[in-house]
Amino acid sequence: MNDSLIIAGRKFKSRLLLGTGKFPSVESLRCSIEAGRAEIVTVALRRVDLNNPGSGIISAIDRNRQLLLPNTSGARNAEEAVRLARLARAAGCGNWLKLEVTPEPRYLLPDPVETLKAAEILINEGFTVLPYINADPILAKRLEETGCAAVMPLGSPIGSHRGIRTIDAIKIIIEQSNVPVVVDAGLGVPSDASIAIETGADAVLVNTAIAIAKNPPEMARAFAMAVEAGRIAYLCNRDFQTRRTEHACASSPVKGLPF
């Protein structure tokens, strides 16, 4: 099936973006990238641990096959996000960026004002910006108009495994968006990914649910299959949601019963 995901003019076969945090080992991450067929992988930037320099995470990523998408996680405002973005570029991560501004640690919800402010600055500096946002259709539109390459509305708080609690707003974002919609955060099981993609999201980003599974590569494979199933279902049946009824509708013939 020739059905590519296109972000900022670049084609991807996979609609599963993989986060690289919390994996038990570099090898587990490498196998999960492979099993999940991920072509976009996120990374973070942190201070070097002077007692244990070199995390080795980068060795799990084949940059000929996977696009590195550094995030600005930990940034609490636009200024910190811009600083992390510039550091990411200086670290050789390229121009793509998952913009993330989360001012409070309990729910890690994104700050819409600071995110928009940072997006404007970074787009002017030539970054390809994919902002992590609450499922806010107006904000999504504003970010698209600013020049963001995609929007990444959350399903539920990061790492919460609560699945997609924002489905109605995500549907509006999908309906109105002219850039890809990547559902990010909170996806706990593969069926959550299926729901997002069946609904018309262009891709999903998953990290914790795969990284902390008993067998991360197998869970990555399960998510990849769920994403593929969701996409096929979406393409076959775009209007399935409008066919929902309150009552039953027999699938066996109602005529010809022997009584």
Partner: protein, 67 residues
């Protein structure tokens, strides 16, 4: 001299150091690190000619796993 590396004070016997030499001393691979010196990003090519003096603030950042 004293350097502030990643927010902590470290004392060195040297009167001055360049960034590349500092990375060697603290056994950190220059190829995998991005640095800020007094708030300014230093590209890897310039590590060897970036002088660090008493009180210089150095941030050493690397890529880690993240979502």
């Amino acid at each position: 001299m004293k350097l502030v590396i990643n927010g902590k004070d470290y004392v060195f016997e040297h009167d001055s150091l360049d960034l590349l030499s500092l990375l060697e001393i603290i056994d950190t691979n220059a190829d995998t690190v991005v640095a800020e010196v007094n708030g300014e990003i230093i590209q890897g090519d310039y590590f060897g000619e970036t002088a660090l003096n008493d009180g210089t603030r150095v941030e050493l950042i690397n890529i880690v796993g993240g979502g």
